[in-house]
């Protein structure tokens, strides 16, 4: 309880009202039970209650309290990705994320809040049951309209807010309504208390219904609202006549609120339903404005109007917005009703693609650019990933292979910098399975290479080889691009790894020629690092160092921290092989902050392990232990088994150096240093990916 535990819970948008006893009881239950599901209809306040409980439970979970929002996840197979993404677990090998999660959570005292599970109940049930069985200190709090029905699940039914009666005129529902009405500027609301009581009863104490009604008290008195919503029940237009009463109440209120919107606001609200989660004004303008019904210039005002009516949430005030899930579903139904889904999804795909390409180009294509300017593009690209997933789903569903592949490759560039491109394998596989007849050859060729890139990392060398040869050879028929440079990098890695040095060398020379001719320092550095690896492997250390220094100089000129970090870690390896441990230490130490800044945890963990080994060689055991421990922690947190193994073997070497054979973690002799390093270096040098 001394160090504040990490979490990703959002700031509460306004005051939380009522449910005091529920919050305190759930606070105790969350510590006693493994799985609690808050169930109830949409709009009853499950999410808000769960966030409250989770926030108060923070002191009890040393390894954090993590919110995973599942509303935007359409494909059950991606539940694991979403959880892994939130927990910072990186895809060591594509398809092995679950394994990474297990590793991350095995000994962690963690609370995971899975919000909006109802459309993924089966997959959530499997995943929760699996993780609970293997991770003894892990606990789940879920919100779902339906329970998971797994063993040990405590289903906690969220009731509406308390309704007023003679003895309690100030019940929770009244307090919430009055608070929100006052916030909406309706000062006179307290003068109509009997009407407020009537309205709260009509709305059955449903928090979302109360919020929507309160947002309109600036224009309508509580009595008028109660009358109108009463009429609504009689003429619910969207079916569900047999639905439970609470659901009908909510629907009636949402419908009523929707019908009070201006026609333009209605158009905007339904169009906003295509966003996967949080969006900003710029994206909303580009996706939703059409120059006809909705003009760009009026979008900000319309959006502000929807925020005032509590239909859109202004997230954290940073110009970022989102829709509550219940509202998003209603809006999506309206979009479907007017037949605008395909048009809007197409536009969403196109806009997200253009924006992702802008991020990729901004971060990667300029040969020389200061790092902060590059990083800003990469960070912006990361915020688009949720929309990217939704857009790629649409590209597959609508068979738009060209736009889908353009988006997937741009996103791959963003993911690679952070060291986790596992997810992109699935994207490319699905998109390449579409009819490619109308897709330009060079786009297909880059996609093949991008898929090979991911497969190589997953050690699927045979498939990678076939694809990368196809990818490089086709791209050579077209003008040089940065992608061709990257493809060469993948190709030479694949051929080095499969022991066909001749072919690898040929690709390396072609890459050098092409990257020099087209002023592409990023890929030229890749070629230099490949040369370094080869020289190191053959024991020509002086040449190896020269190649590394050239790569480092290229990285510095380009302002690319990734290139610099790769060059430095390889120079460190060369220095270590030459027995110059001081230089090795300073090389790795210089790379460390660069990798930290990129949030590339996989390479960062490796860098710590290398530092630990070098420090041990220098006899600085304290520093060695510190680095190995940091690397181990990072790898564990990112769910990287290879990283954990590396750290354990380093610990073992360390213990041996100290003569502390009892403390060795490795059964048997430490792995041969030289062989393992050069083996890895050969991989790493190729594409700069690992």
């Amino acid at each position: 309880m001394t160090v504040p535990a990490p979490h990703n819970l959002p700031v509460e948008p306004n005051r939380f009202i009522g449910r005091e006893r529920d919050v305190s009881e759930l606070g105790a239950l969350v510590r006693a039970e493994r799985v609690i599901t808050l169930s109830g209809v949409g709009g009853i306040g499950k999410t808000r209650l769960s966030l409250r409980v989770a926030a108060q439970a923070r002191p009890w979970f040393a390894d954090g309290v993590w919110l995973v929002e599942l509303a935007r996840v359409g494909d059950p197979a991606l539940v694991v990705n979403e959880v892994a993404g939130v927990l910072g677990v990186r895809d060591e090998l594509p398809g092995r994320l679950l394994d990474g999660l297990r590793l991350r959570l095995r000994d962690a005292s963690t609370l995971i809040l899975l919000d909006n599970c109802e459309h993924l109940v089966e997959r959530c049930a499997e995943l929760v049951a699996q993780l609970i069985a293997e991770c003894p200190r892990l606990r789940f709090l879920l919100t779902s309209r339906e329970p998971l029905r797994i063993q040990g699940e405590l289903v906690w039914r969220v009731p509406p807010l308390e309704l007023p009666d003679e003895r309690h005129p100030d019940a929770e529902s009244v307090l919430l309504f009055v608070e929100r009405a006052l916030a909406a500027g309706a000062r006179a609301v307290t003068e109509h208390m009997p009407d407020v009581v009537r309205l709260c009863r009509a709305l059955d104490g449903l928090p979302l219904a109360l919020e929507l009604a309160a947002a309109r008290t600036g224009l309508l008195s509580p009595g008028r609202i109660a009358d109108r919503i009463g009429d609504r029940f009689a003429l619910l237009t969207t079916g569900h006549r047999t639905a439970p009463a609470r659901q009908r109440t909510l629907l009636a209120t949402v419908e009523w609120s929707h019908d009070l919107l201006t026609p333009k606001e209605r158009v905007l609200l339904r169009r906003l339903s295509v966003f996967a989660g949080v969006f900003d004004l710029g994206l909303a303008e580009r996706v939703c404005a059409d120059g006809g019904i909705l003009r760009r210039a009026e979008l900000l005002d319309l959006l502000a109007g929807l925020v005032d009516k509590s239909l859109v949430l202004h997230q954290g005030g940073a110009g970022r917005y989102r829709l509550l899930e219940t509202i998003r579903q209603y809006a999506a139904d309206r979009l479907e009703e007017v037949g605008e889904v395909a048009r809007l999804r197409d536009r969403h795909l196109r806009v997200v693609c253009e924006e992702m390409e802008r991020c990729y180009e901004g971060g990667s294509l300029e040969p020389r650019m200061p790092w902060p300017a590059r990083l800003a593009h990469f960070i912006r690209g990361r915020t688009l990933l949720d929309d990217c997933r939704a857009a790629i789903d649409w590209a597959v569903a609508s068979r738009d292979a060209v736009t889908g592949l353009r988006l997937a490759r741009a996103a791959l560039a963003i993911l690679a910098v952070r060291g986790d491109l596992g997810e992109s394998v699935g994207w490319h596989e699905r998109l390449l399975a579409l009819d490619l007849a109308k897709v330009p050859d060079d786009v297909v060729a880059v996609a093949a290479a991008a898929l090979a890139y991911g497969l190589e990392l997953a050690d699927e060398l045979e498939r990678a080889e076939e694809l990368i040869v196809q990818g490089v050879e086709e791209q050579k028929r077209h003008p040089y691009t940065h992608w061709l440079g990257i493809s060469y990098g993948v190709a030479l890695t694949v051929f080095f790894r499969t022991g066909r040095t001749e072919r690898a060398l040929r690709y390396m020379e072609e890459l050098e020629a092409a990257a020099s001719a087209h002023d592409d320092p990023f890929n030229l550095a890749t070629a230099r690092i490949a040369r370094l690896n080869l020289a190191l492997f053959q024991g020509r250390l002086r040449q190896a160092r020269r190649h590394g220094e050239e790569a480092l100089a290229l990285g510095r000129q380009a302002g690319h921290h990734w290139t610099q970090a790769r060059a430095l870690t390889h120079l460190g390896a060369v220095a270590e092989a030459a027995g110059d441990l001081e230089t090795a230490l300073s090389c790795h130490a210089d790379a460390l902050p660069l990798l930290e800044g990129m949030d590339n945890r996989v390479e960062l963990a490796r860098c710590h392990a290398q530092l630990g080994r070098v420090a041990a060689g220098l006899g600085d055991r304290a520093a060695a232990r510190k680095h190995v421990a940091a690397g181990l922690e990072l790898s564990r947190k990112a769910g990287q088994r290879r990283g954990v193994m590396r750290a354990l073997s380093a610990l073992s070497a360390l213990a041996q150096a100290q003569g502390d054979l009892e403390g060795r973690c490795w059964p048997g002799p430490p792995p041969p240093r030289c062989a393992s390093r050069s083996g890895r270096s050969a991989r790493r040098g190729g594409c700069g990916s690992c």
Partner: protein, 127 residues
């Protein structure tokens, strides 16, 4: 061993000894408390007449609660009214109609007889 019989289930002929009653009631009381039942809370019990009903009643009283029994043969509408009237947060029942009737109520937790016996996995608190 003098086993005092405190109840005979006329349906099954099964007998409940005093020791069994005490033991099961104690376990059930702990389970009720773990789920937040406090002194003065109303707890609905909708079970057929038999040992489980006796144990549940005992446990609710021991937890300081107020027993609000519901005959299981009531129709759903009446059950719903009674559940609503009780204002209870917890209900003990395995009866289908009662579970349905609790759907749109203010009952937070429905406990089965198995839950009361602690036979669902009871997990260790975080260390």
């Amino acid at each position: 061993m003098d086993e005092r019989i405190v109840m005979v289930d006329s349906g099954t002929g099964l007998k409940l000894t005093e020791e069994q009653l005490d033991e099961r009631s104690a376990v059930a009381t702990v389970q009720l408390r773990r789920r937040g039942v406090r002194s003065g809370d109303t707890v609905l019990i909708c079970l057929r007449v038999g040992p489980d009903l006796l144990v549940s009643t005992n446990a609710v009283i021991a937890a300081g609660g107020v027993v609000w029994p519901l005959p299981p043969d009531l129709d759903t509408a009446t059950l719903r009214d009674r559940i609503h009237e009780s204002g209870a947060r917890v209900m003990i029942s395995d009866v289908r109609q009662a579970l349905d009737a609790a759907e749109e109520s203010r009952v937070r937790i429905v406990m089965s007889v198995a839950d009361l016996n602690g036979s669902c996995p009871s997990w260790a608190p975080p260390t």
